[in-house]
């Protein structure tokens, strides 16, 4: 089984070095180049569309920013969980379930206007929080490994939601396997036509600020961080251990669920089967790159969105397939938890 000591945490004595993320960033770039050379008959063209495609027009640029929205929410959620010393690997299910619940709530309370919209989003967050909090509870009570339980629950939830979306709740009017569309009043407005970038972006940025404030300016955030840094020390100071084994999980699941709702209100307007595939994992990768710092989640999310957007562009205009992005993301995942790489070029400073 995975040792508890395998947990990722920034080593306290290391100055936060930029070398680790830089190495990963460069390796990602190099791998894109190599993949293009190997797989494309026109590597130059491929690379051109990969790197420049996302920024060459408002349409592509806006779409790229749009894909960053759920990544920001996910990245924030994981950062909170890890700062509190917990691991949440159930993002895929939590986003999907949150999106689904938000959609269903919007459809049910379609006449409630903005109150309905807020209520639906909150409901999505709640379901995400419950799913994740369940694993936190198991850990608190019986020291069950939350890496595995979040993952398992997530897979179960995806299958269950799939059933509903493809079955009883499927929208009969379209060929798309999806639920009915939410009412127009609930849909976020476009802020960068002709792309589908929604005002959800503002909410994502607000969320970053809120989470940053929570972590560093509130008593609860302080307690969460102390517990994550040294659970023994937190206990010594009178902080209740049990609560902080659950609360960070609840927060991270809620943020994932909220992110799912954001994508529904901003982009899809209905729960399309498996629309969120990969968003959970990307959220995790974003948090890992951002070293669990809320503010750093924004550039990390943009980085991932950029890779996905670049791959999509390259696919549209050249002869490679979108799945190149998966390979690059896999590479990031491979390297981002390496403590060997993290310690490259760092120094100890003592007074």
């Amino acid at each position: 089984m995975v040792n508890r000591s395998d947990k990722i945490h920034t080593h306290p004595y290391m100055l936060r070095s930029a070398i680790g993320p830089l190495v990963i960033f460069s390796l990602a770039l190099v791998s894109i180049i190599i993949l293009s050379l190997l797989l494309s008959k026109t590597p130059g063209r491929t690379l051109h569309y990969f790197f420049l495609g996302p920024v060459q027009s408002t349409y592509y640029f806006g779409n790229m920013l749009n894909t960053a929205i759920p990544l920001i929410f996910g990245g924030l959620g994981i950062s909170l969980a890890m700062r509190g010393g917990s691991f949440n690997l159930g993002g895929e299910g939590q986003i999907y379930a949150g999106a689904f619940v938000t959609t269903m709530s919007a459809l049910t309370f379609s006449t409630w206007g903005i109150v309905g919209a807020i209520f639906s989003l909150i409901l999505g967050a709640v379901i995400g929080g419950l799913l994740s909090g369940f694993s936190g509870f198991l850990r608190m009570k019986w020291n069950t490994n939350e890496l595995i339980t979040t993952f398992l629950v997530s897979n179960m939830v995806i299958l269950v939601v799939n059933y509903f979306v493809a079955g009883p709740l499927k929208n009969p009017e379209t060929n798309l396997i999806a639920t009915k569309k939410i009412p127009e009043s609930f849909q976020f407005s476009r802020i960068l036509e002709p792309s589908n970038l929604s005002s959800g972006l503002y909410l994502a940025l607000i969320a970053v600020v809120l989470v940053q404030l929570y972590l560093y300016k509130t008593k609860s955030g302080y307690e969460l961080r102390m517990f994550g840094l040294n659970a023994m020390f937190a206990r010594y100071g009178g902080i209740q251990a049990g609560w902080y084994q659950v609360w960070p999980m609840v927060l991270s699941g809620a943020l994932y669920g909220l992110g799912g709702g954001m994508v529904i209100f901003g982009t899809y307007f209905a729960t399309v089967k498996e629309f969120s595939a990969g968003m959970g994992w990307n959220g995790l990768a974003v948090a890992l790159i951002a070293r669990f710092q809320p503010v750093a989640v924004i550039p990390a999310a943009l980085f991932f969105a950029y890779i996905e957007s670049g791959a999509r562009n390259a696919m549209l205009h050249s002869d490679v397939t979108f799945e190149i992005a998966s390979i690059v993301q896999a590479l990031v995942f491979f390297l981002v938890t390496s403590s060997v790489l993290q310690q490259l070029g760092t120094k100890r400073v003592r007074l």
Partner: protein, 514 residues
């Protein structure tokens, strides 16, 4: 008699703490003898043996095995030179049999890749028979008693043909009944030509078993003696050293003393331990006094610390604070109640290296530094700055605590607890890791606290510290109070006397059982 091993002027300094664990230590081990390496905790015995076994490399000095100079680079190398070590924490695979454990790494082969399990059993059984052990090669280790598991560790070494055997506090994990067979085994091994070093601080063992004893204190070798020519009191005195007065200015407390913390017959029992960790411990800490708790580590000091700190619940008895029962408390209640507590392990328990200095300083007083759930950052900063200045800590509030030097980290912890005490404060090993000047500073603060009316509970294995500071001294031995020294007797008590209580040689009448 021939010399099996000679260590000459070994120096080993640990750079992180500046601790001179071995300061020019020399040791001679003769063939076929049992040599006890004695000393208090921290004397440097384990370090010296780690050097001999290749777990540490000395900064200077030389080692000769059978007359040949050697640089011992690793335990494997030591094994090849005929040196074996039996650690306190066994390195055994519970699910495997004795033979499988013993031969792991040097398994007898069948057709190159196969494991000749039967031959392994035969070989190990041969070793067992030769030394008259009570176990069988095919026994599963998990079914063995602790004493038998230790035998497996010894057999592991004998299988590898060691001539020199080092045992690290072997009786720490054994019951009384298991000690005798161990001694018999060791004696037989010695008679058959093996040379044995026993690391210990237990006087009875030294007297009963060893041919010679080498006594260390504070990183230096005090001397090597023939056991039959030295008595226990002398060994104890040499281990503890002469009393050093720290010349502190301590005036008697004049105001009336109120009981602040009272413990009545508290016991701590754990399911997996035979003996209670604390047994019927009763004492009262009064305002305006320093109550010292002395003892050899492992006899209950750490347990008492955990109980006072709220980490460990008591199994029976009462604890009262200002006459209010606080027997059932966790750390949260303890802090609410006004606990101020400097833990022995300032780094692992008392601080978070990744958090800033200011954040570390408010862990127990976080409620005062927040309003409606929001932290009052400027108040935190001012608080930190004033404490840093008051305690002369080099650093600033926003720096991560881990970037400070070890000594400064400790000062931060001390500053925090001293600053926020209400009417009592617990200190555990307060000067571990501090240089002399900082240590003195701590002592002065402690006396100041006491003069202001605080009840200071001092838990320490440092007798000089206890003798200089305490107004009353309670000695813990095996989880019970062996003696309580107070009143006039405080001014006359000696280290030897305390030592004899600490080592179980003596016991005040009112504290002895049956």
């Amino acid at each position: 008699m021939e010399v099996a091993a000679h260590m000459h002027e070994i120096v080993k300094v640990y750079p992180e703490t500046g601790n001179r664990a071995n300061d020019g230590v020399s040791l001679t081990l003769r063939r076929g003898e049992i040599l006890c390496l004695a000393g208090e905790n921290g004397a440097g015995k384990t370090t010296l043996m780690k050097v001999l076994y290749g777990l540490e490399v000395p900064d200077s000095g030389s080692i000769h095995i059978e007359g040949v100079s050697q640089h011992i680079l690793s335990p494997l190398h030591a094994n090849r030179l005929g040196i074996g070590m039996v650690h306190q924490h066994f390195k055994l695979i519970e699910d495997f049999t004795v033979a499988q454990n013993v031969t792991l790494g040097s398994e007898p082969r069948k057709f190159r890749f196969g494991y000749d399990l039967r031959r392994a059993d035969q070989l190990v059984d041969a070793v067992i028979k030769e030394h008259h052990f009570s176990i069988e090669a095919s026994d599963k280790v998990t079914s063995l008693t602790v004493g038998q598991k230790q035998q497996v560790e010894i057999i592991k070494m004998l299988y590898r043909n060691v001539d020199i055997l080092i045992l690290d506090e072997p009786t720490a994990v054994l019951t009384e009944q298991e000690i005798v067979p161990l001694f018999t085994t060791l004696r037989t091994l010695a008679d058959n030509g093996k040379s044995i070093i026993l690391i210990t601080h237990k006087l009875q063992e030294i007297k009963n078993l060893s041919d010679r004893v080498a006594i260390m204190r504070q990183g230096r070798m005090v001397g090597e003696f023939i056991t039959s020519e030295i008595d226990e009191r002398e060994i104890s005195r040499l281990m503890m050293g002469q009393s050093i007065s720290l010349q502190l200015n301590k005036v008697p407390y004049s105001k009336e003393k109120r009981p602040i913390i009272t413990c009545e017959s508290i016991s701590v029992v754990k399911r997996n331990q035979e003996r209670p960790l604390l047994q019927n411990v009763s004492f009262t800490a009064y305002s305006g006094e320093i109550l010292g708790f002395a003892g050899v580590s492992g006899n209950g000091l750490g347990v008492l610390e955990a109980v006072l700190g709220g980490f460990l619940p008591i199994s029976s008895g009462h604890i009262e604070h200002n006459r209010i029962d606080i027997s059932r408390r966790d750390t949260r209640r303890a802090r609410r109640d006004g606990l101020a507590y400097v833990p022995a392990d300032r780094i692992k328990v008392g601080s978070a290296s990744g958090a800033s200095v200011a954040e570390n300083l408010i862990i127990a007083s976080r409620r005062q530094f927040s309003r409606f759930g929001v932290l009052r950052k400027s108040a935190m900063r001012e608080h930190a700055e004033s404490l840093l200045q008051k305690f002369s800590v080099a650093g600033s509030p926003h720096m991560p605590l881990g970037t400070l030097s070890g000594g400064n980290i400790q000062k931060v912890v001390l500053a925090r607890e001293i600053e926020q005490y209400r009417d009592y404060i617990v200190f555990s090993e307060p000067t571990w890791g501090l240089d002399v000047a900082s240590g003195r500073f701590v002592y002065e603060r402690m006396i100041e606290l006491r003069n202001r009316g605080a009840a200071v509970l001092l838990i320490s294995s440092n007798l000089d510290e206890i003798l200089s500071l305490a107004d009353r001294i309670a000695v813990l031995y095996r989880g019970s109070i062996a003696a309580l020294i107070s009143g006039e007797a405080i001014h006359h008590v000696t280290k030897e006397e305390l030592g004899s209580y600490m080592l179980g040689l003596a016991c005040q009448k009112e504290y002895s059982h049956g």
